[in-house]
Symmetry: C2
Subunit: 243 residues, 2 copies
């Protein structure tokens, strides 16, 4: 039986989703719990490879298991064994062909920037504290120039292995609530570190280190080095995945 | 020179405010940093003794120091040395007579209850996850019966050392936003564990384990054991102190 499982996780204490040698990952913790529950090795496919310290309010994964546990009861069984920074919130059955990564048609990330003089202890793991002044109108103008279907090669970090770097960034917008700026980005797919490089570039524009007017030419130049720094991971959160 | 310093802290990793032998406290960490900055032992008086794992969005403390650092620059100096879960957000000078504890005329706490089927990893250290159904209208009725100036002895944990147990609980109300219930309590002073016992009692009423109709008689009976359990510490946050 194929299962589709929706998780939420606080990524602070993990080296991202994907299993790796150098640190504990969410995939590894979940697969260990599934082994305990099903009594068999269970390989999980995740919707995305989140980086170390990146969070997810909605993360979808899929796996096959031979079990009599009904899909909607699975979260209760798993939550009894998962650590409190990972919660299963929804269990469903899925067609055998379901692939959580390749079947996703749209993903949405949020990135939080705390633009205040002093940092907030409650956001230390959930936002990028940037104390200098930011020109919000210029950042919004830059969002309009980056948004759309285009070649995002310049927003891909070294190490990215995408076959094509064209993506449809259908949403790139921001909301400011007091000192907290939330950038929302939706696309049919994201390149390696794409959201974090976009946010770093937006902050460079807001701080006057890059001109919004120059962005279109810089993007067409396809040179990563012409853009802003990669924003730190803890501000990033995967908030929606559509199939 | 007497200083009045406003802090915010995430209490997750501390054994409360007050210096003690068995664990690291916020007071101890702050006094160590002040020693480093001023080069002299600096005793700090805090507005409240928060319990282990309890948070503060506004915590006021006072101390005397012989320094040329202007009061408004003090937060910048201290934040360079404080850990990221404690931030100084405001520095002021104060009269020599200022006592952060005894001069406080009103304090406000918030307590968060997450009333959802599954817990939220992002609130694991900031709310009490209570998955069973709660009757909000009954809880609101109970708030009205507890609120006011009265003897709160039954809401004081063993170990409380108050001379009088009469307090003026000027506000006790709740706001429900989806599954998140925030209880707000303001008073001229609080007894040991008073907010947590009130919240535990409100949850007992909401879950049908206690009747709101019986509360007035139970409060007049002044017996702690007749009321609800003490709500867990991580849902509690000191949010305002008035002088």
């Amino acid at each position: 039986m194929k299962f589709k499982l929706t998780l939420m996780y606080d990524g602070t204490n993990y080296h991202g989703w994907q299993r790796q040698k150098n640190g504990v990952t969410v995939q590894e913790v979940l697969e260990d719990v599934l082994y305990g529950v099903f009594g068999a090795e269970t390989a999980v496919v995740g919707c995305s490879r989140t980086d170390a310290r990146v969070h997810a309010r909605m993360f979808v994964c899929g796996f096959s298991a031979d079990t009599s546990i009904p899909a909607d009861k699975l979260p209760f069984v798993l939550n009894a064994a998962l650590p409190p920074d990972i919660r299963a919130v929804k269990g469903e059955t899925a067609p055998d062909s379901f692939n959580a990564r390749f079947d996703a048609v749209k993903k949405t990330y949020e990135y939080r920037i705390l633009n205040t003089v002093h940092a907030d202890p409650f956001l230390r793991n959930y936002a990028w504290h940037y104390p200098a002044a930011l020109d919000i109108a210029e950042i919004e103008r830059a969002c309009g120039l980056i948004r759309g279907r285009r070649d995002f090669r310049c927003f891909m970090a070294a190490g990215g292995k995408a076959k094509t770097t064209v993506r449809d960034l259908s949403e790139l917008s921001l909301v400011k609530d007091g000192g907290l700026i939330t950038v929302t980005a939706s696309a049919n797919g994201f390149l390696y570190n794409m959201v974090r490089i976009i946010v770093g570039t937006l902050v460079y524009v807001g701080a006057g280190k890059l001109r919004a007017d120059d962005l279109t030419a810089l993007i067409e130049g396809r040179d990563r080095r012409a853009l802003g720094l990669t924003a730190p991971p803890q501000g990033l959160c995967l908030v929606n995945v559509e199939y």
